[in-house]
């Protein structure tokens, strides 16, 4: 069983479109995260939720909106996609703030 699963794995879309990436974890963790990995492989946190409550909102454009319907799910919706949004987006979860993160397999988003 996949612990942190993201869909889709690949997403190719045109500028200006709206898209969503879904994330689910079956580990029973309270905290979930979205990280962005750019073309130079640098990883930066975007958001975190703890038990459906927004905890971290880094300086991310408001075109990005996370939604956590329950503590096992954290989806990422992106409006008006831009070329610079092309990256790999990783979902992760952890049982507590002091615990290591468990990462999903990533979603490679390509905006053309």
């Amino acid at each position: 069983d996949t612990a942190v699963s993201q869909t889709p794995k690949y997403l190719v879309t045109q500028m200006g479109n709206d898209k969503s990436i879904k994330c689910e974890q079956n580990l029973g963790h309270d905290t979930m995260y979205w990280y962005k990995q750019d073309s130079k492989k640098f990883l930066k946190i975007m958001f975190s939720y703890n038990n459906k409550e927004l905890i971290i909102n880094e300086t991310v454009p408001n075109r990005f909106s996370p939604k956590s319907p329950d503590k096992a799910h954290l989806n990422l919706h992106i409006n008006s996609l831009e070329l610079g949004d092309s990256a790999v987006y990783f979902c992760a979860s952890s049982p507590s703030y002091n615990s290591p993160l468990h990462f999903g397999n990533g979603t490679r988003l390509t905006v053309t």
Partner: protein, 116 residues
């Protein structure tokens, strides 16, 4: 602001060579330290972590790391690398204690290429 610096961006070794990857962080308080590995096309996996106690920590696949508080360093080592160790290695930090929000700050990553 907190930051993590990995000195080696690209390392090329032959099999059986010893490995040491440098990691320094800037944060004055209690920290939790991690090394993650990302094999080609895969997600990040935890190699090892340090929270407290013995500063020499052992991880999976023969990796170890040493926390030197006075140097703000957490270098990763392996005595003898294998071709299968070819991957991207990331050092990461989050502040421990009550100010911790779980936010991991990553270094830029080190690409390790092991030649057979």
């Amino acid at each position: 602001a907190q930051s993590v610096s990995q000195h080696n961006h690209h390392v090329i070794l032959s099999e059986a060579a010893s490995l040491e990857l440098g990691c320094n962080y800037s944060y004055g308080g209690t920290v939790n330290l991690f090394w993650y590995v990302q094999y080609p096309g895969q997600h990040l996996q935890l190699l090892l972590k340090y929270f407290s106690g013995d500063p020499l920590v052992k991880g999976i696949k023969g990796f170890e790391a040493e926390f030197i508080k006075s140097k703000f360093s957490f270098n990763l080592r392996k005595p003898s690398v294998q071709w299968s160790d070819t991957a991207e290695y990331f050092c990461a930090v989050n502040p421990g204690g009550s100010s911790n929000t779980g936010k991991l700050i990553f270094g830029q990553g080190t690409t390790l290429q092991v030649k057979p």
